[in-house]
């Protein structure tokens, strides 16, 4: 590995009329963007706007139907990711691609395409040290990656791209697993590298704050088309938001109705649970949620929130502690869910709350299939009332589906979430457990789902909302709790805290 000086190594990339058609879907329609050398360029857009398709065409994962790619001013044909690597294009994915049991150094060395079958570790480590000396950020090289924090792993992913001498790096929502402080540190360092002309960055994001604070230029996509962009300094957040969502009218958010304090409906007492490896994931969690109140649980993903939700919804055994609903011990089995009116809306509905290959009607009946009118004599199942009920819910919640008999996996993400929402919220709800309900949805769906949650609260339901999106919590919650390392590090009324305090608590609160 040569360790040349990287100053002035940055180059630009330009797409001209990039179009990608999947069957009947125009995923990308005549998109031309220009990423100038030595800049940090943000790519904004809602889910499904074509951001991923665009970068996958640039990286050779997809072949564009039409369009050209210019790398450093030269026309480039990228047939596969290997061609992209040869042209020094690299990409950092949202999820880590490191080998957890290997050290950082080992991860870097084995990632090299020219890595020899027999590795001269002494020589390689020396070369690696020389390389690291030129880098603005450091990562412990000798600890296994599994022992690194999320921020360090993310840095290592970026270092890997630089080590492989990629000079144009695409970052896919790089800060989604970082605390606000980690995100600021990393983006600051990257911005400095682009400013020194060592690197060009194209960053996919949907956080306006990151765009305004760190990006030089921005391009906005909507429904597969380029709808605007320019220098970040020339655009306001409102301009960018308008480009992203177009003319879609967003419903006014449901207003929070002020109501007197009500009794505690859901109480978690000293909960302990282990993760899939049997290591403690939830440690001594005590929380109380009152009726007519939303308790938001913030935190960086992977700090025990998923396990907590799984325990409450019956997907993971409870190691110790108690769950009380209306003061009585609660066990997440069907009879008690029905009796105490406990409902849940989980993240990734196709993984957690729907059966992908069963029909929309069947999925909407998961709560009611064993009760009249769908069931008679406790055993006999009648499809007609099941379909009738599904049709009613489809109309009321505007689920877009070809028919009630379509497998739910054929629906778009927003419609799957809406179908599940219809099922869980159409009854009489006392306790609602929600996890990242808006993850990956478009603006209109997000507004709708948040409104529904707020309305359940106004009606008097106790809502436990886990979200990785701090803005969502700040918008919806009455109280906020922060989870870090499986513990609650902050628990305060929303008015008595702020972003900084929450961010501090996310990092462990010490």
């Amino acid at each position: 590995m040569s360790a040349p000086t990287h100053r002035g190594a940055a180059f630009g990339v330009e797409t001209i009329g990039m179009t990608k058609i999947f069957g009947a879907l125009n995923a990308l329609d005549d998109v031309s963007i220009k990423v100038r050398p030595g800049t940090l360029h943000a790519l904004l857009g809602e889910n499904g706007a074509g951001k991923s398709t665009l970068v996958k065409c640039m990286m050779g994962f997809y072949q564009p139907t039409r369009g050209e790619l210019l790398v450093d001013g030269q026309e480039a044909v990228i047939r596969n990711p290997r061609d992209a690597m040869r042209l020094k294009l690299g990409m950092v994915y949202q999820h880590f691609t490191l080998v957890p049991s290997l050290t950082a150094a080992e991860n870097l060395i084995v990632s090299r395409p020219d890595c020899p079958s027999v590795i001269d570790w002494k020589r390689e480590i020396a070369a690696l040290d020389a390389f690291m000396a030129t880098m603005p950020f450091k990562v412990p090289l000798t600890t296994p990656v599994s022992g690194l924090s999320a921020g360090e792993k993310q840095k290592l992913e970026i270092l890997k791209q630089l080590y492989l001498d990629r000079r144009f790096i695409i970052l896919d929502e790089p800060t989604s697993v970082l605390t606000p402080d980690e995100a600021d540190e990393m983006l600051g360092l990257l911005k400095a590298m682009t400013a020194r002309d060592e690197l060009t960055i194209l960053m996919i994001t949907h956080k306006f704050r990151e765009v305004t604070a760190y990006a030089d230029e921005v391009s906005v996509l909507r429904r597969g088309r380029y709808v605007g962009g320019g220098l970040v300094g020339d655009l306001s957040t409102a301009d960018m938001a308008r480009m992203m969502i177009g003319d879609t009218e967003i419903r006014e958010r449901a207003t929070r109705r002020e109501q007197p304090s009500q009794p505690v409906a859901l109480e978690l007492v000293a909960l302990h649970a282990a993760d899939d490896e049997g290591l403690p994931a939830v440690t001594s969690v005590d929380l109380k949620v009152r009726a007519g109140e939303i308790l938001g649980i913030a935190g960086v993903s992977g700090n025990g929130q998923s396990e907590l939700i799984e325990v409450i919804s019956g997907q993971r055994p409870l190691d110790d502690g108690r769950i009380l609903v209306h003061g009585k011990p609660y066990e997440p089995v069907r009879t008690e869910m029905d009796r105490l009116k406990v409902f849940s809306l989980q993240e990734e509905p196709l993984r957690n709350s729907a059966v992908p290959r069963m029909s929309v009607a069947e999925n909407m009946a998961l709560r009611t299939f064993d009760k009249p009118p769908i069931a008679s004599l406790r055993w006999w199942l009648s499809p007609a009332p099941m379909r009738a009920r599904a049709r009613e819910l489809i109309d009321r919640y505007r689920v877009k589906t070809p028919s009630t008999e379509t497998p739910i996996e054929n629906l778009s993400g927003g419609n799957v979430q809406r179908a599940v929402l219809a099922r869980e919220l159409s009854g009489d709800v006392d306790v609602l457990v929600v996890a990242n309900p808006c993850f990956g949805l478009d603006f209109a769906s997000v507004a709708e789902i948040r409104t529904q949650i707020m309305e359940q609260r106004n009606r008097g339901a106790a809502v436990l909302l886990v979200s990785e999106d701090l803005d969502e919590i700040l918008e919806l919650a009455d109280r906020v709790a922060v989870m870090s390392g499986g513990r609650i590090t902050l628990n305060a009324p929303i008015a008595a805290t702020d972003r900084a305090a929450i961010g501090h608590a996310m990092a462990g609160g010490h």
């Binding site: 009947a24 003319d247 879609t248 009218e249 967003i250 419903r251 919804s313 019956g314 997907q315 997440p332 089995v333 069907r334 009879t335 008690e336 869910m337 849940s344 989980q346 993984r351 957690n352 709350s353 729907a354 059966v355 992908p356 290959r357 069963m358 069947e362 009946a365 998961l366 299939f369 064993d370 069931a375 406790r378 055993w379 006999w380 199942l381 489809i394 109309d395 009321r396 919640y397 505007r398 877009k400 589906t401 070809p402 028919s403 379509t406 054929n410 629906l411 778009s412 419609n415 159409s426 009854g427 009489d428 209109a444 507004a447 709708e448 409104t451 529904q452 309305e455 359940q456 009606r459």
Partner: protein, 376 residues
């Protein structure tokens, strides 16, 4: 249920009008449905082609082979009878695979439940042999076989539920235990002096034997098997148990989140599956063998796995597929005599079919012709 949210919760997003239920695309639906038939049939054809190459390599004529297969399995009334006698146990053992498969469990030890079921039937009959009272003893034998099979595979389900033991391995290993139990008693305490050449239990006698379906010369087990297959279909598609089972098999996380008793459902499905295989054992003893001996271990349980996979675990598809494999088995003897090929040749074909069936699982959803239905 009172529904206070009816009006308040109607979302009102201007840009999202209510959907128009799209006209149902009948051609697309028919094509999508035909995928489940075309792919397995294609798999069988590919296996037959590969098997022909195998025969050519042995210097034998594939044409003769398939002619004999037809004649031995389906060509004459006698061969049909031969085929259907072998079809009956295959339907039951295939159900033993298909029912747990709907919950995502892979049970391959149906042969063990068949052996234990047949053995139990023969044993409970022992005190009553030659004393009449068939109206009482025959149901007793049937119940004993059903229960023994249910407990046998039910135990596998319990191991899985309470101890997290892999059900596939456990059911396979239990098969060896079943054979050992059978041999231990048949060659020891329960060996009948009536049969000096082959260790067996005392023959149950003609009055306890199951009769034949009039005009078909095949025992009642076949009809019962078809009824069971239809019953299994109704259970899976039209009952709350079947619905809960399909939810569990389709997404166990969603089933847990709905508070469904996943463990109990798995246990029940395993017991039901074992009961089916136990019934196969009952008919082998009470309609064919007349006693329990090593002939119970005839491989029906293992061929049943194949039948279930080829039928895509659809109970209604099991009887026809079972007839196909019954015919293969029935023709084995003829092929052996006429072509000078070992009896196991048919098993080579069966193995090939299984391999290609497993491979063909990866093809589903990949052929554009079958997935015309527009995505919402």
């Amino acid at each position: 249920m009172p529904d206070p949210t009816t009006d308040a919760s109607v979302p009102a997003v201007a840009a999202q009008p209510a959907p128009h239920p799209r006209a149902i695309d009948w051609v697309g639906r028919a094509l999508a449905a035909s995928e489940a038939i075309v792919i397995p049939v294609g798999a069988v054809v590919v296996s037959a082609a590969l098997f022909s190459l195998f025969l050519l390599a042995l210097g034998k004529s594939p044409q003769t082979f398939f002619e004999l297969l037809w004649r031995g399995g389906f060509g004459t009334a006698f061969s049909w009878q031969n085929t259907l006698v072998r079809t009956a146990p295959l339907i039951f053992t295939a159900l033993c695979v298909a029912i747990p498969a709907r919950l995502g469990l892979v049970i391959i030890g149906g042969e063990g439940a068949l052996v234990i079921g047949g053995f139990a039937a023969a044993v409970v009959a022992l005190p009553f042999i030659g004393q009449g009272g068939a109206f009482f003893v025959m149901p007793l034998m049937f119940i004993a076989a059903t229960l023994a099979g249910a407990l046998w595979i039910g135990f596998v389900g319990a191991l899985r539920h309470h101890r997290g033991v892999n059900e596939t391995i456990a059911s396979l290993l239990m098969f060896y235990i079943a054979v050992a139990i059978l041999n231990f008693f048949v060659e020891g305490a329960l060996r009948s002096p009536a049969d000096p050449n082959k260790p067996s239990t005392t023959p149950i006698g003609a009055d306890l034997m199951v009769g034949q379906i009039p005009g078909l010369e095949v025992h009642w087990g076949l009809a019962f098997g078809v009824v069971m297959a239809i019953g299994a279909h109704i259970l899976m598609s039209r009952t709350t148990f079947g619905f809960a089972a399909r939810v569990t098999g389709g997404n166990v996380r969603a089933a847990r989140a709905q508070g469904l008793p996943v463990g109990r459902l798995m246990l029940a499905a395993c017991a039901l599956a074992g009961a089916c295989a136990g019934i196969a054992g009952y008919f082998e003893v009470a309609a064919i063998l007349g006693k329990a001996n090593a002939s119970l271990v005839a491989g029906y349980g293992f061929t049943g796995i194949l039948v279930s996979f080829l039928a895509r675990h659809n109970p209604l598809a099991i009887p026809p597929v079972a007839i196909l494999f019954g015919g293969l088995a029935a023709a084995g003897g003829l092929i052996q005599r006429r072509m000078g090929l070992p009896d196991a040749t048919v098993q080579v074909l069966q193995g090939l079919i299984f391999l290609i069936i497993l491979l063909s699982e990866t093809v589903y959803g990949r052929i554009p012709l079958f997935s015309r239905e527009a995505r919402a």
